[in-house]
């Protein structure tokens, strides 16, 4: 028992290789599933918020199994901020655009005046566009919340 404990504590590679390998296998599928949930949001269970949380959780899982630096190598802080702001801009921009074009706030059928697809088709497409914006914003906020909480604000070490 003592010997096993010492061996687990003093292992040179840090986190266990089993966990690393399993996480390495799982992360692409988690991200694919997150995209699936976002894209299918308007006619099956799911949507922008849920898909964004799944996408963010994949990066949090990476940060838990490896360390914070590996995550920021794959997905830098700058890209995270740009994606989150782009998501918020897509949502509010689409709402403002529909209001400017003569409809109500987020009344997607007003977008028919730019690209004529028919108001019913545009209602479906508009929900999809807004869901993409919500998903990007939620993913970015989840990841940056985890980064800041785990490292106490100074993005160096973390858990």
């Amino acid at each position: 028992m003592k010997r096993l404990q010492e061996r687990a504590q003093n292992r040179p590679t840090g986190e266990s290789p089993i966990i690393r390998m399993a996480v390495r296998v799982m992360i692409p599928f988690i991200q694919l599933f997150g995209l699936y949930v976002i894209v299918h949001g308007h006619y099956s269970p799911g949507g922008g918020f849920q898909g964004g949380v799944i996408l963010g959780a994949s990066f949090i899982l990476m940060a838990l199994a490896f360390d914070l630096k590996t995550t920021t190598d794959y997905f830098s802080e700058k890209a995270n901020a740009i994606l989150g702001n782009a998501g918020a801009l897509i949502f509010t921009g689409l709402g403002a655009l529909t209001a400017i074009l003569g409809g109500l706030w987020l009344d997607y059928s007003a977008l028919d005046r730019i690209i004529p697809l028919g108001p019913i088709e545009w209602r479906s497409m508009g929900i999809f566009l807004v869901e993409v914006g919500v998903g990007l914003a939620v993913m970015s906020i989840m990841v940056s919340l985890y980064w800041d909480l785990a490292s106490g604000g100074d993005m160096d070490e973390g858990l």
Partner: protein
Amino acid sequence: MSAIAALFVIPGLFFFAVGTLGILRFPDFYTRLQAAGKCDSFASVLVLLGIAIYNLGDFTLASLLVSIKIMLIAVFVFIASPTATHAITESALIVGVEPWMRKERKKQ
């Protein structure tokens, strides 16, 4: 189809019951975790396999697609559940949770 599905679901339920019994009756952390991890990962794969076969009852493309999705869940559980058990056990080992032993052997 439902008979074949029952052939998978009923052993799955049996393994779930055995695992629950193990969690309640085993003496310490490691043995309980073994009961939880092993029985649950095997039993949930069996139950999901049974559900996938039952769903395939009317053989259409849509039901085949749903069955494939259920099987993907089973594969995911089969990877994720043992890994989670391993991670919990390892952190318990590092923190220093004592395993249960017989009283005579503990005195030595």
